[in-house]
Symmetry: C4
């Protein structure tokens, strides 16, 4: 994809995440620069629903704007850069405060895939606590040190929950990061209800292995993107 196409898709992704209520006034999605893997693209400080191509800024992996042109960046841009730096295969990062997901970030109950739609999220979704290393804060990942600590907690996983805050989801493409964020939210809702019944059958590890092995060619991704994009444009 060209830079222009990448920016257009990133704007679409912002609108989809807003329509699906994965993000509200807050939360953001980035993409690695298609020509410079040591840079990434992310909106200026604007709610995802309202993002336009003119809002997309370019950053170094340390979170420094290449040419701010008067635009104010998100405080938490360091989440994105820190992950792009240690996960070369990752090309898109979503940070969100989904109302269905956060309860698992403030509880010792693990979030685990309960249905096939969430199988590619993997067997483990660790919880990162900013307090462990940084003590009392406003909970925000507002410098590169905090970003790196969070990225370390993410490790090789797809999802990291953030205590008292939200979560971060990565993908090899914008589409994968968006779909994983949407179906992480769906899975959280399903698991919350099923847990009320007290005897949940989670996906087995070997089933998750099958789904993760095929994630690049996950059936139906094109269909899902067409649908989510149409909904965001209604």
């Amino acid at each position: 994809m060209t830079l222009e196409e990448t920016i257009a898709k990133l704007v679409d992704a912002n609108h989809i995440l807003a329509q699906e209520r994965v993000v509200d006034a807050f939360g953001h999605i980035s993409v690695r620069h298609p020509e410079r893997p040591d840079r990434f693209l992310l909106s200026c400080s604007r709610s995802p629903e309202l993002v336009t191509p003119r809002d997309i800024m370019e950053f170094t992996l340390d979170g420094i704007p290449v040419d701010a042109a008067g635009r104010k960046p998100y405080f938490e841009r360091f989440i994105h850069g820190a992950i792009f730096a240690i996960r070369p295969e990752v090309h898109s990062v979503v940070h969100n405060h989904s109302y269905d997901v956060i309860p698992f970030a403030v509880s010792k109950t693990p979030l685990r895939p309960v249905f096939h739609g969430a199988g590619n999220l993997g067997k483990s979704m660790p919880v990162w606590d900013i307090r462990t290393k940084f003590g009392a804060t406003n909970m925000l990942v507002n410098d590169i040190d905090k970003g790196r600590d969070m990225a370390t907690a993410l490790g090789s996983n797809t999802v990291v929950l953030m205590r008292g805050h939200g979560c971060t989801v990565v993908g090899q493409t914008i589409e994968e990061a968006v779909l994983s964020s949407v179906y992480l939210q769906v899975n959280a809702r399903l698991q919350t209800t099923a847990m009320q019944f007290g005897d949940v059958s989670y996906l087995h590890d070997d089933e998750i292995d099958v789904m993760q092995a095929a994630r690049a060619a996950a059936p139906g991704n094109d269909r899902a993107w067409e649908y989510l994009l149409a909904r965001s444009r209604r």
Copy 2:
């Protein structure tokens, strides 16, 4: 109904299921071919909300497209063919991942009718586990053998839950399959809330018998279809 009328109604049914959130990006509904009972009609791989008459494909009961004309079929078309093959009175099949229903498919808690609107769903909604016969899979019914195993688990019932996946609902008409899918979802929501109180009064078996005996002439089906169709077209 003519073939053209049948296709128009199938498209309406897709849009209703999307509007009622029985399906999202995924899920599908089929109808037996009105002139050839050994064939069925089903959209190509497209989200139900976006399906148009041009997307409707014809399949043999083994799930083989009669004339794909470049269109890509759903991976899980075998669900439909396998049921049409062993249930001659069934003329429509809905496969979905309703967020209210899935918790019952990942728990040992039986889903049972709690109100008259769900009485015609029957006394038993078995849970089929793809793992029992096929081991570790991506959970999808992506060949005819898996379809037949699932159809066997459905047996003579109206609903079969699918562990870690979703459910399948059958009807003697498109209207019946759609309404049963919508009110299965409503019943799941009602039962989930009532179970929180700890002392649920389910419908009695003899009440379900009365409702199932009259299901072909269930009061209000025309009214419900008119309403659901109007909602889907707003």
Copy 3:
């Protein structure tokens, strides 16, 4: 109000109940005839969202259409007539299957006012079981004997829950019946959540007495009707 004004308000009430999801494809609202207290007005068999003035039929209190003019009545019109016959001060009746209320109709947990908005619903909302007198049925109040039995269970209360079915709500005016139905639903939702915490403070009986004494002049009824009507017309 003239007959014409009464019909116009009844149509508005249908649309409000649909917009607030108190009713879906099913459920209905009636009003006593403004000139003949031994008659009542109710839509023909149509979903509330779609009701127009031409759909409004006139019935005797036994549920017999005065002039059907080819229109098909609701099966459950007997709910309305039976109540109008024994409650002369009641001028409007709502029958609904609110998804928030039904769980209390299939459980032994009493539904009780937890906040001032529901105070005028009263101290007691009895549960009527059609099975006690009529055995195994399709759960519908489809003749006048069943209507009279349900009306007896309602007694002098404002709300009667119907096991495995839904509820019926009465008011001295259309506005009161509609607002009581809406805030019954809100109260059910609030109580369901509060019960999860295990230590609910219900309204005290003497507080309910104060609110019921002032119900005809309940503060804010005009404001609420203006708001609900505007929402239903968006």
Copy 4:
């Protein structure tokens, strides 16, 4: 801000609170008069979604209309005046019956911040019971004595819950009062779900201290207002 600008912002705030379902037919928001700190501005008795600049009335802190001009005031305007009288730094007050918040007002379970978005709500959200001083009432704060008792219970906090009724939220600006009301509602929903899991990690007191110290410059407030306003105008 001029008086005209203040009124325009107050009208926007009404529409935002309605769109976010913090208020329904009932609930209201006020602002201290920009030129006379002993006066405040509040709509006449109209649902927030429908409020226009012509509806905004001026009141003394005792709740007496300065020039009603035929408009009917809210019964509960005393909530606002009583707080403005004892909290000089407060410039805006929201009274609401959020469906997510009320369960905490009818239970002994404390409502506490679980995520950073609610950190500025503070460590304590006391519950005021109108019954303690005033006995059996219709639960409404319909005179200045009740207003003062409620304001005393609020004390120096940001939120006071009202048993069997709702809550009141204060801010140094209209934006702060609105955003605190919205994120109070979000926090209530998150805490309700997390409590189902049984092991909730609330924000630590020192984290809340950090966030409250920076509340005037809370990151993202401008972004959130732009987003909420855009949603309310769709």
